[in-house]
C-alpha cells in the first residue's frame, strides 16, 4: 500500500467517520501545549470541555444527520448510528469523570494538565474499540484506552494504594493484551483473516469452529472479559477501583465497560451460537461473584467496585441472549446501549459523589456515611437515587436497562438464567440499601469524628445534577432514549 492509496482511502466519508476522534486528538494536543505555556487553569479547562463537546456534537451529527458513513478505511472501521450512540456514551463518561476531577487533586498539587491529557486520550481508544471491524484496529483502541488508564490509576504517586492500583492494573492488563494478541494470531492462522466482516462469511465461520480457532476466540474473549470485569477475570477490580483516584475509577467503571461491551456486541460473529448457555452461565456466576462480594464490603468505593462486576454480569446475560438469538435482530444492542447510558449516569454520579465526600476527609466507609442526610441532604438524596438506579428500581434509568437486558434473555429462551439473574439482583439491593440506611437511618456514633462538610465545586455540582437528571429522565420518560438507540 503506497501513500497515494492511503490518501484515497481518506475521503470525505472517512473523515466524517473519524472526525469525533480527530476532535478529541486535536483537543489533546492543544491541552498539552497549553501546559507548556503559562496559561491559566481556566483556559486549559475550557479546552478540555471544548474538545469533548465538539466530539459529542460530531457524534450527534452522525446519529441524527441522516445517512451514516458506514464502513470506511478499507472496511476496518465503521461509523453507524449505533457507534455514534456509543460515542456519546463514551464522551459523557469522560466528561463526568473530568468534571469530578476538577477539584479532586487540590491537596496533592499533581500534574493536573497531564492528567487531563491522559483522560482525553481514553475516549479515543473507546471509540476505536466500538467502531473496529478489524481485530488489530480494536487492539489499537484497547491500548489507547488502557495505557493512559494505567498512568491515571497511579496518578496519586505519593499514595501507596494508588501506585499499587496502577501497577496491578498494568501487570494484569499486559497479560490481557498478550492474550488478545495470541488469540488474534491463532484466529489469523486458521482463517487467514482479521476482519470481523470476513469472519462472518459462512466459509470462514466453519473455519472458526476448528479447535485452534476456538482457543484463539477464547483468548480474545478472556482479554475483553478482563477489561469489562467478568468472572473469572474480575479479581483485579476491587483493589484497582479502590486504590485509583475516584474520578479515574468513575471513568474505568463506566467508559471501559461500555467500550468492552460495544465491542462484544459488534464481534458476536466470533462466538458460535453453541456458546450461548456457557456465556449465560458465566454471566450468572459473575453476578453472583459481584453481588455476594459486595455484601461483605464496608468501604463504599470497594462495594461499588463489586457492584460493577455484578452489572457486567447482567450485561453479559444480554450478550448471551444475542449469541443465542439472531445477532442482527438489534434488540440486544439496543438493550446494552440503554443499559450503559443509564449506568454511565448512575455509576459516574455515585463515584463522583464519593469523590466529593472523600474531600471531607478519609475513605468513604459505611461508617463515615452515617447521618449524611442531616449534614448534606442533597448529596444524600442524589446518592440514594443512584443506589436505587443501580438496584434497578423503577422510575430510574437502571430499571429500564435491567428490564431490556432481561427481556433479551427471556426472548432468547434463557429464561432460567434470567430468573437466577433477577434473584441475584435482590441480593444486590441488600447492599445498596445499606448505603441508604447509613445515610438516613443511622446517627454517627462519635460526633467528634464527623468531618466538616466542604463546599462542592461548581463542576462537581453540575455533573451531579446532570447525572441525576439523566437517571430520572431515562427512568420516567424513556421514550427519547429508546428512539435514539
Amino acid at each position: 500500500m503506497n501513500a497515494q492509496s492511503l490518501l484515497q482511502m481518506f475521503d470525505a466519508n472517512a473523515l466524517r467517520a473519524v472526525a469525533p476522534m480527530l476532535a478529541l486528538a486535536l483537543g489533546l494536543v492543544l491541552v498539552l501545549l497549553a501546559g507548556v505555556f503559562p496559561l491559566g487553569r481556566a483556559v486549559r479547562s475550557a479546552l478540555v470541555v471544548a474538545a469533548l463537546v465538539a466530539s459529542a456534537v460530531l457524534h450527534a451529527n452522525l446519529l441524527l444527520g441522516g445517512e451514516t458513513p458506514g464502513k470506511v478505511l478499507a472496511g476496518t472501521f465503521e461509523a453507524t448510528s449505533t457507534t455514534a450512540m456509543w460515542g456519546l456514551v463514551f464522551v459523557a463518561s469522560t466528561l463526568f469523570a473530568w468534571l469530578y476531577s476538577v477539584r479532586y487533586y487540590d491537596e496533592d498539587a499533581p500534574f493536573k494538565n497531564e492528567h487531563d491529557v491522559l483522560m482525553l486520550a481514553t475516549p479515543i481508544g473507546m471509540m476505536l474499540m466500538a467502531g473496529a471491524r478489524d481485530l488489530i484496529v480494536f487492539f489499537i483502541g484497547l491500548e489507547l484506552l488502557s495505557i493512559p488508564l494505567y498512568a491515571l490509576a497511579a496518578f496519586r504517586r505519593d499514595r501507596a494504594r494508588s501506585v499499587e492500583a496502577g501497577l496491578k492494573y498494568f501487570l494484569l492488563g499486559a497479560f490481557a493484551a498478550g492474550f488478545f494478541l495470541y488469540g488474534t494470531a491463532l484466529v489469523y492462522a486458521t482463517t487467514g483473516s482479521l476482519s470481523l466482516d470476513m469472519l462472518a462469511d459462512p466459509a470462514q465461520r466453519a473455519a472458526l469452529g476448528s479447535p485452534m480457532a476456538l482457543v484463539g476466540v477464547a483468548l480474545i474473549a478472556a482479554s475483553v472479559f478482563f477489561k469489562v470485569s467478568v468472572f473469572p477475570f474480575h479479581l483485579w477490580v476491587p483493589d484497582v477501583y479502590e486504590g485509583a483516584p475516584t474520578p479515574v475509577t468513575a471513568l474505568m467503571a463506566t467508559g471501559t465497560k461500555a467500550a468492552g461491551f460495544a465491542f462484544l456486541m459488534s464481534a458476536l460473529v466470533l462466538l458460535p451460537a453453541s456458546t450461548a448457555s456457557t456465556v449465560a452461565l458465566i454471566a450468572v456466576i459473575t453476578m453472583a461473584a459481584g453481588n455476594f462480594g459486595a455484601l461483605a464490603q464496608t468501604d463504599v468505593k470497594r462495594m461499588l467496585a463489586y457492584s460493577g462486576i455484578a452489572h457486567a454480569g447482567t450485561l453479559l446475560l444480554g450478550v448471551a441472549g444475542a449469541i443465542h438469538g439472531d445477532p442482527s435482530n438489534g434488540g440486544a444492542v439496543q438493550a446494552s446501549l440503554v443499559y450503559m447510558t443509564a449506568y454511565v449516569a448512575t455509576a459516574a454520579g455515585a463515584f463522583g459523589l464519593l469523590a466529593l465526600l472523600e474531600r471531607d476527609g478519609g475513605p468513604t466507609t459505611l461508617e463515615s456515611l452515617k447521618g449524611l442526610a442531616q449534614r448534606r441532604p442533597w448529596v444524600a438524596a442524589a446518592l440514594t437515587l443512584f443506589m436505587l438506579s443501580l438496584g434497578g428500581i423503577p422510575a430510574t434509568g437502571g430499571f429500564l436497562g435491567k428490564y431490556l437486558v432481561f427481556s433479551v434473555a427471556v426472548r432468547s429462551e434463557l429464561t432460567g438464567f434470567a430468573i437466577l439473574g433477577v434473584l441475584l439482583s435482590v441480593v444486590a439491593l441488600g447492599y445498596y440499601l445499606r448505603v441508604i440506611i447509613a445515610m438516613y437511618m443511622q446517627a454517627p456514633e462519635h460526633d467528634a469524628n464527623v468531618p466538616e462538610p466542604r463546599p462542592a465545586s461548581a463542576a462537581a455540582t453540575l455533573a451531579s445534577i446532570t447525572c441525576a437528571a439523566l437517571v430520572l429522565a431515562t427512568g420516567i420518560l424513556p421514550g427519547w432514549l429508546l428512539e435514539l438507540t
Binding site: 422510575a395 427481556s407 427471556v410 421514550g479
Partner: protein, 515 residues
C-alpha cells in the same frame, strides 16, 4: 383527567412540602393534611358518581401514549400511561383516599422528628398506591407497584422501633424478590402478546392454553402472595408491623397489603381464569391454613402490635379463601373483606398506637384494668375488636359470612377449616381485650394514663361510621362492585366449564356442576 389529578395530587403535595423550610413543622403537617383531605374529597366524589345510571363515564378513564418498549416484535409495543377505574379499583381507591387523612392526623401524636421527610414519603406513597390500583397498563402497573415499596422502606427505617433496620430490609427484599419474578412474567407476556394494555390482555390471555397461563399465574401469584402475605411468605409482616410507626402500620395493613389481594383478583383471576381454576384448590388451602395459623400465631403473642399483625395474616387468609372459591358469594365476600380489614385493622393499629404513646409499652402483661382510667379508649377498643371478630351488625360479619358461604359451595373442607378461624379469632381478640382493659388496675404506671383526646376520637369517627354502615347496608358499597365481579365470575365460569368438558374434573368444578 380526574384520575390523573387524584393520583398525582399527593405527589404535588409532597413537592410543596419539600420546598418548605425544615423547621416549619406545623406548615408541613398542614400541607400534608390538606392534600390528603383534597384527595379524599375527590375520591368520595368519584365514588358517589360511579355507576349512577346515565352518568358521564369520562372521568373514569384516562390514557396517553407513554413510550415504545421493544418487545421482540418488528414494531415495539406502545406502552400507555393509562388509568381507569372499575368497581373493584373504585373501592380500593376510596379506601386509600379516606384512610390517608386519618393516618396523617394520627402522626400528630408520634412523629416528632424529621416531620418534613415523613410527610413527603407518606404523600409519595399515596401516589404509588393509587397508581397501582388505577393502572390498566401492565408496565405502568409494575412501575407503580415497585415505586410504592420505597416510601414504606423509609417510613419504617427512619421512624420505626428498635429493630427497624432488620424489619425494613426484610420487608423490602421479600417483596422485591416476588416483584422481580413478576417482571420476568411481564416480559414474557409482552413478548407473547405484543401489547401491555390490560383490557386486551384480559381478552387475549384467557384463551391461551392452560399450561402457559399457569406459568404466568405462578409468577404473579408469588409476587402478590408475598405482599398479601399468604402462608408461607408471611414472616416479614409481623416484623414490619411491629417496627413500623403507628401511621406506617395503618397504611401497611389498610392499603399496601390490599395491593396484593387486588393483584390476585385482577391478574391471577381475571386475566388468567383457566390457571385460577386449576390453582384454586391450592390457593384455597393456603388461605384456609393461613386463617387458622394466623389465628394461632396471634393467640401466642404477648406484644399487642404483633398480635394484631398476626391477626392480619389470618384475616387476609379469608380474602384469599373467598376470592379463590371463585363463586359469586366468595368473590363479593373477598372484596368486602379487603375493605373491612382496612377499616378494622386500621382502627386497631391506631388504638395500639394511642396507648403506646401514653404508656410506651405494648406488652400485654404490662396492662390490666385500663378501662377504669381510659373509658372512652376502652369503648372504641371493644367496638373495634367486635368489628374485627365479625359481630353481626358490624362490617366484619358480612364479609366473613359471604366468604364462608362462597367457599362452602366450592370446597366444604377448607370452608370448615376457615370457620374454626372465626372461633380462634374471637378467642385471641377477646383474650387480649380482657387482659388489657379489664380486671383491677394494679400497675401504678397505668393508674395515671389520660384518656384519648378530641383529635384522637375525631380521627377514628369516620372509620367507626364506615364500620357500622358496611355492617348494616353493605349493598351501598357492594352494589358498585357487583357488576364487575359478575364479569370476573362469568369468565371463571367459562373456564370451569371448559375444564369440566375436558374431563379434568377438579373439586371446584364439581361444586359448580352440582349446582
Amino acid at each position: 383527567m380526574e384520575l390523573v389529578l387524584l393520583t398525582f395530587l399527593p405527589l404535588l403535595g409532597a413537592l410543596v412540602v419539600l420546598c418548605t423550610p425544615r423547621a416549619a413543622e406545623g406548615l408541613q403537617r398542614g400541607i400534608a393534611l390538606a392534600t390528603t383531605l383534597a384527595v379524599a374529597v375527590l375520591g368520595v366524589k368519584l365514588f358517589l358518581g360511579y355507576g349512577v345510571p346515565g352518568a358521564d363515564a369520562t372521568p373514569y378513564s384516562f390514557s396517553v401514549p407513554w413510550f415504545k418498549l421493544p418487545s421482540g416484535y418488528a414494531a415495539p409495543t406502545q406502552v400507555h400511561f393509562s388509568l381507569a377505574m372499575d368497581g373493584i379499583s373504585l373501592l380500593m381507591v376510596t379506601l386509600t383516599a379516606v384512610l390517608m387523612p386519618i393516618v396523617i392526623l394520627s402522626t400528630w401524636g408520634h412523629v416528632e422528628k424529621r416531620v418534613k421527610e415523613f410527610m413527603v414519603w407518606m404523600l409519595v406513597m399515596q401516589t404509588g398506591m393509587l397508581g397501582t390500583f388505577l393502572a390498566v397498563d401492565l408496565v405502568l402497573f409494575y412501575f407503580f407497584w415497585e415505586v410504592s415499596l420505597i416510601p414504606l422502606y423509609f417510613l419504617v427505617g427512619i421512624w420505626g422501633g428498635e429493630q427497624r433496620l432488620y424489619a425494613t430490609v426484610k420487608f423490602f427484599l421479600y417483596t422485591l424478590a416476588g416483584s422481580l419474578l413478576m417482571m420476568i412474567a411481564i416480559i414474557a407476556i409482552l413478548f407473547d402478546r405484543g401489547t401491555s394494555d390490560l383490557g386486551e390482555l384480559i381478552t387475549q390471555l384467557g384463551s391461551q392454553p392452560l399450561e402457559q397461563q399457569l406459568w404466568y399465574f405462578v409468577a404473579f401469584a408469588l409476587a402478590f402472595g408475598i405482599k398479601v402475605p399468604i402462608l408461607p411468605f408471611h414472616t416479614w409482616l409481623p416484623d414490619a408491623h411491629t417496627q413500623a410507626p403507628t401511621s406506617g402500620s395503618v397504611v401497611l395493613a389498610g392499603v399496601l397489603l390490599k395491593m396484593g389481594t387486588y393483584g390476585l383478583l385482577r391478574f391471577c383471576i381475571q386475566m388468567l381464569p383457566d390457571a385460577a381454576v386449576a390453582a384454586a384448590p391450592w390457593m384455597m388451602a393456603l388461605g384456609a391454613i393461613g386463617i387458622l395459623y394466623g389465628a394461632l400465631l396471634a393467640w401466642a403473642q404477648t406484644d399487642l402490635k404483633r398480635l394484631i399483625a398476626c391477626s392480619s395474616v389470618s384475616h387476609l387468609g379469608y380474602v384469599v379463601l373467598g376470592l379463590f372459591a371463585l363463586t359469586p358469594a366468595g368473590l363479593s365476600g373477598g372484596m368486602l373483606q379487603m375493605v373491612n380489614h382496612g377499616i378494622s385493622t386500621g382502627l386497631l393499629f391506631l388504638l395500639v398506637g394511642m396507648i403506646y404513646e401514653r404508656r410506651h409499652s405494648r406488652a400485654l402483661d404490662a396492662f390490666g384494668g385500663v378501662a377504669t382510667v381510659m373509658p372512652v379508649f376502652a369503648l372504641f377498643w371493644v367496638f373495634t375488636v367486635l368489628s374485627s371478630a365479625g359481630l353481626p351488625g358490624l362490617n366484619g360479619f358480612v364479609g366473613e359470612y359471604l366468604i364462608l358461604l362462597g367457599s362452602f359451595q366450592s370446597s366444604p373442607l377448607w370452608s370448615v377449616i376457615g370457620l374454626t378461624g372465626v372461633i380462634f379469632g374471637a378467642v385471641y381478640l377477646l383474650m387480649a381485650t380482657r387482659k388489657m382493659l379489664f380486671g383491677a388496675c394494679t400497675n401504678p404506671e397505668n393508674q395515671h394514663l389520660t384518656d384519648i383526646n378530641a383529635r384522637e376520637i375525631g380521627l377514628m369517627i369516620p372509620l367507626v361510621v364506615l364500620a357500622v354502615w358496611l355492617g348494616v347496608r353493605p349493598n351501598d358499597f357492594m352494589g358498585k362492585v357487583e357488576p364487575d365481579l359478575a364479569k370476573v365470575h362469568r369468565r371463571v365460569a367459562e373456564a370451569q366449564q371448559s375444564t369440566a368438558a375436558l374431563g379434568d374434573v377438579t373439586p371446584v368444578s364439581e361444586g359448580v356442576a352440582a349446582r
